[in-house]
Symmetry: C2
Subunit: 330 residues, 2 copies
């Protein structure tokens, strides 16, 4: 691999001068500059980012920690980040925890050891040791999807979005509304969305049967099972609408309803959340909430850039706007 030293020798200047040409800094005569550029052109020399980083303490790399690497949410998030970061010459170093809390801490250390200029964490559940670790990391940090006080956070209004959706269902004439959620350890999707549902129902004085509220996990099968549970347990008092906290759960529910010979939305209306692609093309197309994940990625990227440049050192909570997407499943 070619080094700055060799370029200097070939161009008959010092390393200092080559560095000056490379960085457009200090005084360099046109004469010398031309020779250096010439040699660089001929040799295809590319300076070592590594050596550069060691000296300058900047790597132009942003570490991104994802809970799952190949979900639609993750990839849309990364897409949004990349749009902004690439423009500024930053690269993304990906890490994937597979929902393992220990790996979150492990990767935090790893990213630190790699001297990334900033870290963006897309978290599902935040635990004490993780927060501790983050606080004494002293690296520009942004979370997406959950909040950690004192840091920069990009979040979705899970609570209000869910309320909106419930109110939308109510407005459509439904009063018996069931809910398929996930574990409340996940504060955003589990806890806040459930709270939104419960509060919206309470505000309108609507009763909720115990069997209408089910808990699943993040996949289609689980939606199927939850829907079945709702219909079996609530045999005497069936809901006329179901809200699932993710589109995949809703699609699972739809699959069960189809199998059970029930029509959506005539027998039971169905709504999801997340605006996945799936939701658009399924029959009937699914009413859902579009959380603008790419936008969240872009925001997170902008925030981390601000943090890096030192513009913004206090707590930030940036809420990404959402949109209710009305389709024929309701």
């Amino acid at each position: 691999m070619l080094t700055i030293k060799e370029i200097a020798e070939r161009a008959n200047v010092s390393r200092t001068t080559v560095s000056r040409v490379l960085n457009n800094s200090g005084y360099v005569s046109e004469e010398a500059k031309k020779r250096v550029l010439q040699v660089i052109e001929e040799t295809g020399y590319v300076p070592s980012e590594n050596a550069k980083s060691l000296r300058t303490k900047k790597t132009k790399v942003i570490g991104v920690i994802l809970p799952k690497i190949s979900t639609e949410t993750s990839s849309r998030l990364v897409k949004g980040m990349d749009e902004i970061l690439a423009k500024e010459g930053y690269q993304i170093l990906l890490t994937n925890t597979n929902l393992d809390p220990e790996k979150e801490i492990e990767y935090l250390k790893l990213l630190k050891s790699r001297h990334v200029d900033g870290i963006i964490l897309s978290a599902t559940n935040i635990n004490r040791p993780l927060v501790e670790e983050i606080y004494n990391l002293k690296i520009p940090f942004v979370t997406v999807g959950q909040t950690i006080s004192g840091l920069a956070n990009v979040i979705f209004d899970d609570y209000q979005a869910t309320k909106d959706m419930v109110n939308f269902l109510i407005q459509k004439g439904h009063t018996k509304i069931a809910f398929i959620g996930v574990d409340e350890q996940d504060r955003a999707v589990g806890y806040l969305r459930k709270k939104g549902y419960l509060d919206a129902m309470k505000e309108k004085n609507l009763q909720i049967e115990t069997s209408w509220v089910q808990k699943g996990v993040f996949n289609v099968e689980s939606g199927y099972e939850s829907m079945r549970a709702i219909l079996l347990d609530a045999a005497e008092n069936k809901p006329t609408a179901v809200l699932a906290v993710t589109d995949r759960l809703a699609i699972g529910a739809m699959l069960y309803l189809n199998e059970a010979g029930l029509s959506v939305p005539d027998d039971i209306a169905l709504a999801g959340m997340g605006a996945s692609e799936l939701a658009k093309f399924i029959a009937p197309p699914l009413t859902t909430i579009d959380f603008s994940i790419e936008e969240a990625g872009r925001e997170a990227a902008l925030l981390i850039l601000q943090k890096i440049s030192g513009e913004n050192y206090h707590e930030v909570i940036k809420t990404i706007p959402y949109r209710l997407v009305e389709r024929s499943s309701v």
Copy 2:
């Protein structure tokens, strides 16, 4: 940021000894080792990968160049790679060309300047200058989806898979089969799949109307338009089956057929390729080819690791097995 020098001072040893403890190399007394580990524990010291890399010439980073960052194929590919690479302590540095050929070369240089230990390129079309650049890169290199001679390549059997699908349609009684492809610049998806279709038809002596063969781009709308074109142009001699080279194109086609009041598969059978999630949940579920993208990612990762360890320096062409997924759209 803490350095090895400070650790050495606090533990009352030399930097050399700290390094030995860190890397489990050379002789270190239990005594000294304990002191060093103690100090590291207390301080939370993490050695700088940067400085390390500069000296050792290894970064434990694999650069991945993707044509599009948030497609299902890309994320499944990255997932497969990460499964293998993370286990071996490698990180993934992501770059996204957005199908811009100039960026491919730009990112190649960038990854070189970052001294990644290897590069995996998921390419759609390979042009001369790119190949030139790759050859004189002298970094372990693996391509996915297309072949470059002399290198390690992970590919899909696009040709045979398409033939299989056409034969499957024929076996189901279809003789009038239309085709929705993409630009043949894309050798794998554009050229080879089209060739597979043409050859399979020819082998069975089946005629192809000009209007049955359409060219779209990689999205749903394009499938819609292509299907419409087929039905309008071929008004007098309509096909009874349509094969689209991607599931999204097939789904677009299905959308048009639905709108046109035609039933799938009764009026027209429909098949896609790629086994996207969408295909599973659409109505009717789409017959497609599952190319095992994750497996390709894993294979690419294994190959790059081999290349890095110097085990495998000659050309490799690894073909990933595919599977015809029979669903009710045919």
